[in-house]
Subunit: 365 residues, 2 copies
């Protein structure tokens, strides 16, 4: 397959990135965005920390994360040049911190893993930690600086991609061919109509958790709650990735004083902002940085990460001119550049990069 | 003074109640409501628990609270009859509970005080407590049932009062005579224009914390944060008034599954929903009733209680045909009936009830 036209189903950060890269290769591009702001990107904090996000034993995924992290600086710069929209790419580095002795033991396991991968991690004494980040609680037992970890603002990235693609992004949901004729479904376009024979057209399904209904692939929603606090700019200088009494929490400060606090992870599909989950995030955040308690709680937002049985994405062709790029779980923002580059290459040239092999849609048989 | 016309400045629960009672006495009534939903009533949980709210040594205030509590059943019934709007008056009683030994010592002091006042309080063993309210944490050390304590839904009360008064309630802010000619002030009516000689007209200032600017009386704002959770109806049967590790919290369940969780108390005038205060309320609430963590957090609302130096209201004439009814602090909902009855009597007949003596506006000299 080497297509000249691509239809992308899904207007989240993955679908938009693929469409943008495809258009840069000269393909005719259309994106069907059924969701507005309901994608996982809307909640995402935008940490670009490959080793922090890969589990032990997931070497193929870690390789993809590390590869994509290396693509981010150019992806961000190019997008900003093309659209004039700043996407908040920042490379100040991350502080990895641990509240208790048990938390520190857990953190040290991860730091050792980072070093094995050749990623920077510089352990710091509590005094040195607090010198870098005076807002940290005196109770914090230890930490490390990860100089290579970066951040980006996912909402700005999506705004820039939308601006870059302009009228190529259409509003409207694409329905599975097996969907009933329920009038409440809104009479959207059927997937079969998109796929129907047109020489040189490829269809890319990048519909997050909605990919399951469209393709039959095992992509499930993993509920996540993220808070947004607002305080005086400068309360935090680094991204803080921490453990507080066994709970993992990250604190991502933006230049304007916003601090993103995330994230819960629950195997459920509802969108309820549960009081207990808000409590757990606030408790962990203020245990690590007490002054966050003085910030305004400006937003509580629930979205669903699309995850597969092995929590790695599904990337590649499924036959009949259809490709899939979904199931990025916690890593949609980090993986957007590599996904976009390799899927665009596959669409335009028919060549599948070796890096994609481990993520073939057929692996769940 | 015995007026035939009354102008009420302030459309909160106090101002509306006074206007309603005045109209029932045959007076011509106008209410100037500058605030919409910015009154303290909008946050209030609606607990009607006189002894729970009066501090030690505030006998005059306690007397007023007890008197008003006794007026609530008829006030609610009459308002419902007149408007057809249910106001959620409920007399299931309150459980007063204590999480730790220290909390229990504190609670016992209050129970003894209630008994001195002749109010019911029946101490319960933890097992009996949990039989009445199975959702209570097994950690709760002790508690008591206060069979006389009731609740009402303040938002419904205000809706009913607004319906009863209809077009007599005007939107628009009344400005102090000393206000500058700043055009951003919106060109509202001046207080002097209302008060200007008209035989038989009385003006009642019931403007909450705004009363200070209008009268010069020392009424200050006391910030309060209240949460609204939503879960399955029946999670709680009683109002729970509790102490959790030194923090006072109340949980007020409504028939539809809403649970009001309140309230913080801070000497500040801003309206920020601070992360730390949300955390403290959620922690105390879930310490007492763990299952509340499963509820949805549907609302965080900040309002300001109007308080005076002795935290008791200012009720009475200030001269020139002007009366004041403000500064009700935590007790605006509970005190609405007695305030309305006695101020309406004072306006219509010129007679000041003995109960008002201790609350004269002149006492701050």
């Amino acid at each position: 397959m080497s297509a000249t036209e691509v239809v992308v189903v899904g207007g989240g950060i993955i679908g938009l990135s693929i469409a943008w890269r495809c258009r840069q290769r000269g393909l005719a591009v259309t994106v069907h965005d059924g969701g507005g702001d309901d994608g996982a990107w809307y909640a995402a904090a935008g940490m670009l920390a490959p080793a922090g996000e890969a589990g032990f034993g997931q070497e193929a995924l870690t390789g993809l994360l590390v590869d994509s992290a290396a693509r981010w600086p150019e992806f961000a710069a190019e997008l900003e040049r093309e659209t004039g929209i700043g996407v908040g790419y920042d490379s100040v580095g991350t502080l990895s911190v641990a509240l208790t002795g048990d938390d520190l033991a857990e953190a040290r396991r991860l730091w050792a893993y980072r070093r094995e991968l050749g990623l920077g991690v510089d352990p710091l004494l509590p005094s040195a930690l607090r010198e870098r980040e005076p807002g940290l609680s005196p109770r914090v037992r230890g930490g490390a600086h990860a100089p290579d970890d970066c951040q980006v603002d996912p909402r700005r990235v999506v705004a820039a991609l939308r601006a870059a693609l302009g009228p190529a992004v259409l509003r409207g949901r694409i329905e599975a061919d097996s969907a009933g004729s329920d009038p409440s479904a809104g009479g959207g376009t059927r997937l079969a109509e998109l796929v129907a024979a047109r020489p040189g057209r490829a269809v890319v399904i990048a519909a997050g958790a909605g990919t399951a209904a469209l393709t039959g692939l095992p992509v499930r929603p993993v509920k996540g709650l993220v808070l947004r606090l607002r305080g005086a700019p400068g309360l935090l200088r680094h991204v803080v990735n921490g453990w507080a009494d066994g709970r993992h929490v990250y604190l991502v400060p933006r230049a304007d004083g916003e601090v993103v606090v995330g994230a819960t992870q629950e195997e459920r599909a509802d969108s309820t902002v549960s009081a207990g989950q808000v409590l757990e995030l606030l408790r962990a955040a203020t245990d690590l940085v007490p002054e966050l308690g003085e910030c305004e709680l400006v937003e509580t937002v629930v979205r669903h990460r699309p995850a597969t049985p092995d929590n790695a994405p599904v990337l590649g062709a499924v036959g009949g001119g259809v490709l899939v790029a979904a199931g990025h779980h916690r890593n949609g923002v980090l993986l957007a550049p590599v996904t976009a580059d390799l899927i665009a290459e596959l669409v335009a040239t028919g060549k599948s990069a070796p890096l994609l092999e481990a993520f073939a849609p057929g692996r769940f048989g």
